[in-house]
């Protein structure tokens, strides 16, 4: 069996369930590892790791520019654009920059060579280190519509660390931006809250990981004594439960002070170390099963 270090994506159907708590703490107990913050609209993993930033790179996308002198209004570009980012107004194409997906198709297609491209800055990728963890953060500039080009860059960067276990902190929800974040993952951890609403959100990402045919398991966060609808959901659907994190004052306090629980408290180091072992066992099992398929 090949023993390739895994890329593990941590996701949830809504914000605030504990994606960052789980991914940061797993990376912290994993020794030499990589943490990638793909929640580019509001990255917060760096607040815990406080990495020494070693490199920062601007992320640009390409946007078409129309030369109205060369353009003869044939509208081939407008009809071609499946994202509807171009409209023909008074016989000239008009570009909706926020709708453009930077595919470059219109430029290739234009028979009059009237379309060129300009670069547009949409955000940055920051790389740094915190103890044994390489911390990579994607930041989408305020007002920009899509963070997908930043996530592509983050995941491309991670290829240079393929020998290390990698933890991908995903954006919340189950939209395109999450699909992009889990695309290359070997395993998905779904973080769930013990409420009826939590079950609804868990169901969204549960559907997504099955659609992507990714192996998955659930971490039950904020666990209290008494009924846990998310746990019941997992039992009913036969979903592996990887671990439970208690709804605990000490954990909440450490977290709101932007401290990494596993680095501060013996109790939580033990909890996340044991969670990591369970996850890695699952990953190895899934890889073995997959190679038999």
């Amino acid at each position: 069996m090949e023993n390739k270090p895994a890329k593990i994506a941590v996701l949830s159907g809504k914000g605030g369930t504990g994606k960052t708590l789980v991914s940061v703490n797993l990376a912290a107990v994993a020794g030499k590892s990589v943490y990638i913050d793909c929640d580019v609209e509001e990255p917060n993993g760096y607040l815990f790791f406080k990495p020494q930033v070693t490199r920062e790179e601007d992320i640009m996308v390409k946007i078409p520019v129309i030369n109205e002198i060369l353009c003869n209004g044939c509208r081939k570009c407008v009809d071609f654009c499946k994202f509807n980012a171009l409209a023909l107004i008074k016989n000239k194409p008009y570009v909706f920059e926020e709708v453009c997906h930077s595919c470059g198709g219109c430029m290739l297609l234009c028979p009059e060579k009237a379309i060129s491209e300009k670069e547009k800055l949409i955000g940055t990728v920051q790389k740094g280190v915190s103890n044994h963890v390489t911390v990579t953060t994607g930041i989408l500039n305020t007002g920009q519509a899509s963070g997908i080009p930043i996530i592509k860059k983050l995941l491309e960067e991670s290829l240079s660390h393929e020998e290390l276990p990698t933890f991908i902190d995903c954006p919340p929800g189950s939209a395109c931006i999450v699909m992009e974040s889990i695309k290359d993952a070997d395993y998905c951890i779904l973080v769930a809250e013990p409420t009826v609403f939590g079950v609804h959100n868990l169901n969204m990402v549960y559907d997504l990981v099955r659609l992507f045919k990714k192996p998955y398991g659930v971490v039950l966060n904020k666990c209290l004594n008494g009924k846990n609808p998310a746990e019941k959901f997992c039992m009913d659907k036969n979903i592996p439960i990887l671990g439970k994190i208690p709804f605990h004052t000490e954990l909440g306090t450490l977290n709101s002070d932007a401290k990494i629980a596993a680095r501060e408290s013996e109790r939580f180091r033990a909890l996340f170390t044991s969670l990591l072992e369970t996850v890695m066992k699952e990953v190895r099992h899934e890889t073995a099963v997959d190679s038999e398929r």
């Binding site: 509807n84 107004i89 008009y94 909706f96 939209a175």
Partner: protein
């Protein structure tokens, strides 16, 4: 003058569709000849930019007035630059809305919502 209205059914007795970009059909009406015809909205299944595509169709058909309950910012830009006026439709049938426009009882649409794709809030 040519009018366009997003509709749920292909009839003058249809109600106005609450969505512009994602309406199933558009009804076109000529106030001079009193003739009307309907078209499938090709933008209805777009991943994004449905309003832009729908506004393009309206402009391409030489429409001067669009009657709609709501409209997005991007579609508004296409309409404005193409010199199509957007009027706020009233509850009731397509025919009632056409009559109201001719009687100068409709007002221009003044609030345009931001796009939904990727910001579904």
């Amino acid at each position: 003058m040519k009018i366009a209205i997003p509709v749920n059914e292909q009839s003058l007795e249809s109600n106005v569709c609450p969505s512009f970009g994602r309406a199933p059909y558009f009804l076109f009406y000529d106030t001079v000849t009193k003739e009307s015809y309907c078209l499938d909205n090709s933008a209805v299944a777009s991943q994004g930019g449905a309003g832009i595509r729908a506004a393009q169709v309206i402009a391409d058909h030489g429409v001067k007035a669009l009657l709609t309950p709501r409209c997005g910012e991007n579609a508004e830009k296409v309409l404005r630059k193409s010199e199509v006026l957007a009027y706020k439709s009233i509850p009731g049938t397509v025919q009632q809305n056409i009559d109201a426009l001719i009687a100068e009882q409709l007002v221009l649409l003044s609030d345009f919502h931001p796009g939904f794709h990727g910001h579904g809030k």
